[in-house]
């Protein structure tokens, strides 16, 4: 026991919650953030049980993954931000090496080379989801903000190399999200709006170039968004069925495990990319709004942690992680409701799947580390 004597007497007069907060802080865990995450995961597990067709084996697999993710969160949270910062270049370099390895001799997985097999399979691009914003924050840590000129070019290079490597796998969705995570760091660091507008204008011919290099199925996905009804049993089928599922859920839903779209297999990829539609169908508008509320709470807490952070690396990284998380949520929900093209981004913490769960939890571990390793006085 840590507490004894008068200290113990003193503690007894405080609220029990304070006890808990003190303990959590000691083990470098942020209570509100953890609560938010656990509520999302809990709700997610409930929905997932229905989405995997009440298959207990698959559901337990997901529980194990969640456990592994929480362990990762806890371990990462113990590492002080300063240590993370010093190890960042090495982590980034290792990530690049693994990506190169994937491109050289990656296994064939889902028609694309994304996996490496070291006893357990994992995607090196997952490392980059954290390594890219970290390296950008690391680079800007000692420099005067806002960044300008050559600094931006260097960071651009840091971002572009892994993005292009992942895009070549090809995994366009992840590549864009990783690039976004890096760019968010620069934006939060105060890059001038004039430059952002300029880059935005340049993105028009860039998009055209991108379109030229897209695989046909990727082009198809974008076209499908423009007119999903054109080929109802072909490429647009997913979006149409997903909209039917959500729309027919109404305010209160058809009831848990009672969604006809989901249970009778009209809804494709119901336990992965389209799990949000299962929730919309079975739990209705109130169900999905509750989940979105929880997501917003987590994002808000993350941004609060970023504002409270004491050094440049910590606040840029925390901000980027929080906003990237929001982007995941937005892109998935917007895709499932037919607002943006189907890009194959899972709903974070809820969709069935392994690697991304661990990465996300590690990211939240970083947030907790940042928040719980604060010194009272700025460095």
């Amino acid at each position: 026991m840590r507490f004894s004597g008068t200290e113990e007497l003193f503690e007894r007069r405080t609220l029990p919650l304070g006890d808990m907060a003190r303990f959590l802080r000691h083990v470098h865990i942020d209570g509100p953030l953890l609560s938010g995450l656990l509520l999302i995961c809990g709700l997610g597990l409930v929905v997932l049980y229905s989405a995997v067709g009440e298959n207990m084996d698959l559901w337990l697999q997901q529980c194990v993954r969640l456990g592994v993710g929480l362990v990762a969160l806890f371990v990462v949270a113990q590492v002080p931000p300063g240590v993370m910062r010093r190890w960042t270049p090495w982590g980034y370099a290792a990530g690049l090496a693994l990506l190169a390895l994937v491109l050289l001799r990656g296994e064939i997985g889902q028609g694309a080379q994304r996996w490496l097999d070291f006893g357990i399979r994992f995607q090196p691009s997952e490392i980059m989801k954290l390594a890219v914003p970290m390296v950008a924050a690391w680079y800007l840590h000692d420099r005067q903000l806002p960044p300008r000129g050559a600094q931006l070019l260097v960071i651009g290079l840091f971002i572009a190399v892994p993005t292009l490597m992942i895009g070549a796998q090809p995994d366009l969705g992840t590549a864009i999200l990783i690039a976004l995570a890096g760019m968010l760091v620069v934006v939060l660091a105060g890059m001038s709006f004039r430059l952002m507008i300029l880059l935005g204008l340049m993105s028009v011919p860039g998009a055209w170039l991108l379109w030229r290099f897209m695989h046909e199925y990727q082009q198809q996905r974008v076209l499908m968004l423009l007119n999903p009804d054109s080929d109802p049993l072909g490429a647009g089928y997913n979006i149409i069925q997903s909209k039917i599922a959500i729309g027919s859920g109404g305010l209160f839903g058809k009831g848990w495990t009672n969604g006809s779209q989901a249970q009778l297999e009209f809804l494709p990829e119901r336990d992965t990319d389209f799990i949000f539609a299962v929730m919309g169908e079975e739990l209705g508008l109130f169900g999905v709004l509750s989940l979105l509320g929880l997501y917003m709470f987590v994002v808000a807490r993350g941004l609060f942690i970023a504002i409270q952070a004491r050094d440049t690396f910590a606040r840029l990284l925390a901000g980027s992680i929080s906003l990237t998380f929001f982007v995941y949520v937005f892109v998935n929900t917007a895709m499932v409701t037919g607002l943006v093209p189907v890009v194959g981004i899972p709903l974070p913490l809820v969709s069935f799947g392994g690697t991304s769960m661990v990465t996300l939890m590690a990211g939240f571990g970083i947030l907790m580390s940042i928040h719980t390793h604060r010194k009272l006085v700025p460095q």
Binding site: D142, R143, Q144, L145, P146, L184, V187, L188, A189, G190, Q241, K243, I244, A245, I246, G247, S248, G249, G250, L251, K254, G255, T257, N258, S260, Q261, Q263, L264, E265, F266, G280, G284, L285, V288, L289, L292, M296, V299, A300, L303, A306, I307, T312, R315, L316, G319, L323, F326, F330, T333, A334, T337, G338, L339, P378
Partner: protein, 630 residues
Amino acid sequence: MRLIAPIKDHHRETRLFFGRVLLASFFCVGLLGLVIARLIQLQVFDYQHFTEKSLGNRVRIEALPPNRGLIYDRKGRILAENLPAYQLELIPEQVPDLEDTLRRLAALKLIEREDIQRFADLSRRGPRFKPVTLRFRMTDDEISHFAIQRPRFPGVDFQPRLVRHYPHGELAAHVIGYVGALSAGDLERLDPAAYAGTAHTGKTGVELFNEDKLHGDTGYRQIVTNARGRQVAADSRGLTQTLLENESPEPGDNLYLSLDLDLQRVATKSLQGRRGSVVAIDPTNGEILALVSAPAFDPNTFALGMSTSEFNALQFDLDQPLFNRAVRGNYPPGSLIKPMLALAALETGATNLTRRTFCRGFYTLPGSTHRYRDWRPQGHGQIDLHDAISQSCDVYFYEISRDIGIDGMHTYLTQFGLGNETGIDIVGEKKGLVPSREWKRQAFSDRPNQVWFPGETIITSIGQGYMLATPLQLAHVTATLAMRGKRYRPHIVAASENPITGERNLTVPEALSGVEIANEFYWDSVIAAMHAVMQSETGTARATGLGAPYAMAGKSGTAQVFSVAQEEKYNEKDVAERLRDHALFIAFAPLDDPRIAVAVVVENGSSGSRVAAPIARNVMDQYLGFGDAI
């Protein structure tokens, strides 16, 4: 390059960062608002639309076929029923290698080699989960044989289904007809919705004519299916919150035929080994008592579906077992028309009962040397109308035909119902032919030059030449003679019965326009002559009629198939079997209170009085209670 790193302004940096986070938050809230707005649009405003789409996705309508009505004879004996039979079925999605499976089934003789491709196509066309029937009925041997082999045939199994069964087989096959698998042609004719669950439909006979009554009303039920169309248990998962609608099928009406099965059996037996037809009618109401066409076929083979080779064997049989001679066979009626011509002649004044003609065995038209021969080469000598009928003197009728004229003959024969469909409730009836000047002008090419020759009137008077009639028409005119001109539409269905309420709907006899001969004396005279045909010492059919326990009337007929040249003698033995004369006979009994009228046609039977008359006698004996116990 700067040598000294610029001093970091922490305060300014914090403010800059805070501003950016605030800006990002606005963005987040905006984007989130977009998603929420979209959710509200889908789940609140378009809720109805998507609910219907979701229902339409998973609820399918499954048709429930009705049970086909049963068919009975007039005494309630079953003629067509529905029996459970084991069908061999194949479910495409469960068969690993379709071609190989079908080949191995053919090796087991469960299907024919020629049908492999047909079944393969059928299996690929429909939904993968829908069974394809390979055999409509398996024998016990086949079932036990297949049961042992079943593990080698995943996706193939036998299932109990209702199959149409005709317990009496060939007997009455042409009356009842048969059902067969629905063809593409049937589907164009029938309402596809009403036949959604039905596999068979009537193809001929009563089964075809009364398809509407027999079929019944298709029911339906709504079932819940998954995305691949497979039915899922409705109660699991509570996916049936919306009430699923059901409607039970309503069975088709049962039919009671006027047919007497015993009579049909006697008539069939009497025709055994011959080609021909027997039709018996109740003259008082037009009910068909027996309708035989020989040879016949087993209608069960159609209901069970036959292989191509089996069908071809039936189709190309020289004896044409599928051909319904009773309603579709056009035969020259021969001397059978003499009683009707006699009535016409009396009515028009072309002859009277005392007029006598000298028959010397042939007749020539004035100014011509062509001899129209009597059937008796030595002639009948002096002869009156009565004897001309009972002894079937041709010369007498040759002579009076010139006075009646072809148009007069046409008028009266048409009044009896010849030359037109009788309107029987069987599809495909032929109307025969009663020639006239007008008909001849229309029937041939080179119309302006088609004139009626006097010689054509002569041969028409003995039912030869152009004249044709079906056995059904002949039975109908016999009934009309028996009823002294009153005609009833022949019909085979006596009553229909709703199997649920038991309510019966009797067919009301339909009187047709009668024969316009008002003088009862004329009828008496002609019927007396027909009585003499059978029951006098000089009648042509005395061998059949004399000594019968009841009084009857009849007329024999022998129709040429093959023309005999002038100066040549028709010699039965010299003529190939299929070119011999057709034997015909009509009769009714009892004489005073007619209850049955019969027409018999025996193809190439040579002699109406010797071959056809005994058959008519057998049938009347059976019906009037003098038959040998069967």
